[in-house]
Subunit: 235 residues, 2 copies
DNA sequence: CTGTGTAAAAATATCGATAATATAAAAAAA
DNA sequence: TTTTTTTATATTATCGATATTTTTACACAG
């Protein structure tokens, strides 16, 4: 066994080739390296990611289930398109599901949940201070904070559907982060959600969440409109 | 070419082997032929459905994306478990999403939508009269009626998520149909939804939908409790 | 009774052959 | 000359057989 690093763990914490290619393609779609609407030719990807066709196809099928990729019978796979309309749709759905989950989480959360939530917020705060330094780190902490908020929600279907939308939304948030997010204080938005939640004030917490999602959407749509003038992203 | 019926269209309207095995496994899961929680060994399925491993794995990955099948790294696939708790969860999520979709549909629906809705209800009514005769036919018409109700909803994500839950719910409805549905008049429930919808009475339509889903749930849970006494379905 | 090693079973990945589809080029008709 | 239709070629997806890796079960020694 000489080349064990090519065989085991192609990317961090992925045990199988399906898993690792799934992760890579997914983050390439989220990060915009694979353009929305573009065809995903098996042979090309085979070359790019250096794996066989079967695990690739499995990964693509999995991504299709989550809406990152579209499948057409005998026409192959392509990257799901993005559009301002889709973003608006996604955002309003997120408001509905995140608020409902937060409501349930506040109702059911105990001391343990509160403690974890405060801890997650603290870690996010730390990462926010070194914002420019490590974007991936901040992303991770942001995800964890928002998950901690909803951790006490007992409905696994609600959490599951929310997760799908949240992940989809990342494609757009990636665009928003590129913009200057004019006059926006994400840090403060997070703190407001946290405080309302700890105060068990469902109404205020939901309102703060709604605004948080809305601001992100508006920020993205602005950039989107700019981008689309030059190169139409959605096909 | 002698055996073209083995190559093309193994089951009705499926163009590829992936599609056809996907359909068959899915309906076997919904119909309960593949027991909840049981392992889906590739080799066994290969024998049962007479196809190769690659298309099978692709079909299973697709089913995993929709929650019919669970995947564990290097441990293979298994049928997603069912439980009364899962049914309750599923039902309350359905109430939320179906009502929201119905609200939007009522707001946006025009004459065309109304006409199609009335037509779908009529077809369902016809199928209901010959209830015992063709259950698959009734199922189809029922799906179509509920889809027609929401057809004018402009949010494709809402419809998509609703669809996932609706399909999941079929596993439980299959159980409910087996029971006598004591004292239930599904026909009347449908008519009430239709009438409130045509009257553009959002509140009444949502209430009727909520009751419709709730009754189905209660009906299933009763049978469920009976079944579980003898053989624990959920593992 | 616990831990380690080995054998069997099962899942995963790759490869090569086959079938389907799209693209292009060429010919015929308008 | 342009447009349409047909045919041939090239590209691409699909599929099953085989090889590799991993897990699990079981036996045996400590």
């Amino acid at each position: 066994m000489s080349n064990d690093n090519s065989k085991r763990r192609l990317t961090t914490n992925a045990r199988t080739l399906v898993e690792s290619s799934y992760n890579r393609i997914r983050s390439d779609i989220i990060g915009g390296k694979l353009a929305p609407g573009s065809k995903l030719r098996i042979d090309e990807l085979r070359g790019d990611y250096k794996i066989g066709a079967s695990p690739l196809r499995e990964a693509l099928n999995r991504l299709a289930g989550e809406g990152f990729v579209t499948v057409e019978e005998q026409r192959g796979f392509s990257v799901a398109p993005v559009s301002p309309d889709d973003l608006r749709d996604l955002s309003s759905m997120r408001v509905m599901l995140e608020c409902e989950a937060l409501r349930e989480s506040i109702r059911n959360g105990g001391d343990e949940w509160e403690a974890n939530l405060v801890a997650a917020h603290h870690r996010l705060q730390k990462a926010e201070q070194s914002f420019g330094k490590d974007l991936a780190e901040w992303e991770q902490r942001n995800d964890e904070f928002h998950e901690a908020l909803l951790a006490a929600c007992p409905s696994s279907w609600l959490l599951r559907l929310r997760h799908v939308l949240y992940e989809q939304h990342k494609r757009y948030r990636f665009i928003a982060i590129l913009s200057q997010q004019a006059g926006r204080d994400v840090h403060r938005e997070h703190r407001e959600i946290l405080e309302a939640t700890l105060a068990r004030d469902v109404k205020a917490a939901c309102k703060a969440t709604e605004l948080h999602i809305q601001y992100t959407m508006e920020s993205s749509i602005r950039v989107f409109a700019e981008l689309e003038k030059d190169t139409p992203i959605a096909v």
